[in-house]
Symmetry: C2
Subunit: 412 residues, 2 copies
């Protein structure tokens, strides 16, 4: 294709890398995002992403809400709006969260563009270069990516089937020279591990946080997606004076809304609002008003009930398929909710290497190493998403994975 003179593709590189701030040198493209590019071929069965089932989005209801909001509130929906978020939606959230024992006023809530923005703003407010953040190993990749940009260091605590082994925290804290800025915890259906932090560990963690004067960041994107068992107490309920709680509409309504929220004591909401003003002024009023309409009409509640059934059935399909197709020695978590389970292979399989074999066999997962911040780990683990594919596809994908793994083991 002929290009006009001056097309930017012809310009010299003026040495951009040398002009970057120190923090930018730590930033990398997410391993998951790069993987997702590999796995976007239509014939690949992907357990790699964290995508909700697209065939169950409440499209008609969203369409109706868009029509209603634009017809009745168009000039407000399309205008600039308060940084804090849309007041009626915040009131609905305050009311709704009270059923989990999170008793707050709407002033304790700020709306954000997906939980990832909350993680970024928390980093901006709390992380100085080289300050320490406590998290589980493995932990959520997106949190690492957000805080790497503020040059955090990570002090990690191992996990078992009851979540982060909080009993090991005091020894870690006594050893450290400086008080960590916060403890990051995913209590419900952990990403990537699939585990739930037990009630007694929640109580211990709140007690330790008080004793060591720590802040807790409680990330709860999947709490509403519980398939079985009773809800456990949020950390926010156990230590409301020192917990910043995050949740989102991405897994219950739709990720395309980019709509989530933070709950925190008011002094921190004030600071989060200042940080968000500098970051993007406000979250779009239109999207917030549409979400509010869907919530107020009771549609979200119905929809979440439906999703729980769909995802439970998909989890069961994956667990059954693993049982049927995996070679001996492979184990996995059976999560009580959420989107992910965590598979432990035999020590002969390096999942980072095995991924290439799997992709050749037209099936994808995320190798475990991606969830270990700046350290070894996860070489024999993989994260498997069960929300995106239907039961039949799940069975076919696990079958392919099992065949590939048996072949790999036979060759090794």
């Amino acid at each position: 294709m002929p290009e006009p003179n001056g097309m930017i593709t012809h310009v010299e590189d003026i040495g951009w890398e040398n002009r970057l701030a120190a923090r930018a040198r730590r930033m990398q493209s997410s391993v998951i995002r790069e993987l997702l590019k590999l796995t976007s071929q239509p014939d690949i069965i992907s357990f790699a992403g964290g995508l909700p089932a697209p065939d169950f989005f409440p499209i008609r209801e969203v369409q109706e809400a868009c029509r209603y909001i634009l017809q009745h509130h168009g000039p407000i929906a399309l205008q600039y709006s308060p940084t804090e978020g849309y007041q009626p939606l915040k009131e609905w959230l305050a009311e709704t969260m009270s059923k989990y024992g999170i008793w707050v006023e709407s002033d304790n809530i700020m709306m954000v563009n997906g939980s990832q923005q909350a993680l970024d703003l928390v980093g901006k407010l709390f992380v100085d270069p080289d300050t320490c953040v406590v998290c589980s190993r493995p932990t959520y990749l997106g949190a690492i990516q957000a805080w790497d940009a503020y040059e955090a260091r990570y002090c990690t605590v191992p996990m078992d089937e009851d979540g982060m082994i909080v009993e090991e925290l005091p020894a870690l804290l006594d050893k450290g020279k400086h008080r960590p800025r916060f403890v990051y915890v995913l209590p419900n259906f952990h990403n990537p591990a699939g585990t739930t932090l037990s009630q007694s560990r929640r109580e211990q963690l709140a007690e330790i946080a008080r004793r060591y004067d720590l802040v807790i960041i409680e990330d709860d994107p999947y709490g509403e997606l519980r398939f079985e068992g009773a809800d456990l107490t949020p950390l926010f309920r156990l230590a409301p004076e020192r917990t910043i709680y995050l949740s989102t509409f991405s897994k219950t309504l739709a990720p395309g809304f980019r709509l989530a929220w933070v709950v925190a004591p008011k002094p921190i909401i004030t600071r989060l609002v200042q940080a968000k003003q500098g970051a993007d002024l406000n979250t779009g009023a239109f999207i917030q008003m549409v979400a509010n309409d869907v919530c107020q009409r009771g549609i979200l509640r119905q929809h979440v009930r439906r999703l729980r059934n769909v995802y439970r059935s998909r989890r069961d399909a994956m667990v059954d398929a693993l049982q049927e197709h995996m070679p001996g020695g492979v184990t996995w978590t059976v999560p009580q909710g959420g989107l992910f389970l965590w598979v432990r292979t035999s020590d002969q399989i390096d999942t980072r290497e095995f991924m290439k074999t799997a992709i050749a066999a037209k099936v994808a997962f995320v190798p475990g190493f991606a969830f270990y911040p700046g350290e070894q780990g996860g070489e024999h683990s993989m994260r498997m998403n069960f929300s995106y594919c239907n039961e039949e596809t799940i069975n076919e994908g696990i079958y392919r994975l099992g065949v590939a793994m048996k072949k790999e083991l036979a060759g090794a």
Copy 2:
């Protein structure tokens, strides 16, 4: 209202301020945002905000686009989407910008949540603590707020009726010990000054940037809203190898979309994508697809033509009213486009103090001091927005302002 036991309003303050990162101490709530709260009483005539005319939003067209996108592309619109942005929209933008001499491929573009996010990501990538950013005085408040969060220092260059006096730049650069990270410039209908950088100064600035090996950040939210005169050459056209160009749909379509874009050489787009992944993963697909639909159908082009007429007429109404109602000695810029003009009062008026009098007289503006980063200036100036109110209201507001100012001068 009785509150359940454990309501967060009852918890102690654990000393949050002492836990903040160094950068957070620099963050403040925007003066404009705090002012807007004061001016939200319905009987106040506000020239303070930078709001588009809400009575001219293309509501019906947006409604139709929402319906179409959800009906035909619902599962994609509501799902996670690429960080770079929606490909067909980026292609439309590349095509459209070529008429201004910005010849780029879609890979040179990244979509963001309003230009404010682009300013934030630029700060994240380029600003180390205490590094210097060159800007005009006055300059856009939102840029200061974005870069304060990364602890920037500001080296400022004065303005005249032809925009930033770039002739003073070499002396400033020779004086400084360190190379500034970039020069920030609003070439068209400057916020707050209303001026346009002349063609010869654009050429000089490109030449100086090359000589001193500087990066240029070209912020162009209002370029499409030119009422008269010919388009001048974008800095991006004059120095494509070293310019990062920002523009937005907020002023042409609707701010409630929170949709803007960055144009840059590919190595910088790669870095911006990494930074955006950590900041909020991606901009919502739904909003991008709706905007794309509106653009592809030619609706945006028609709409912008209409806005130019509306805003020209409102600018004229404000200039006429200033002529009629202001006391002698008050002067103002007559911008060729955009949303703002800049009023210079007599030295006896301190606009920060006068604002209180004005609000008592039920009219609001932004005092000039707000646009001077960390230094004196603007004490006798004010920014006046002419896009939000209709002609009649503009005349009434300026009349009130004139009466208040004459009274203040008589009392002084």
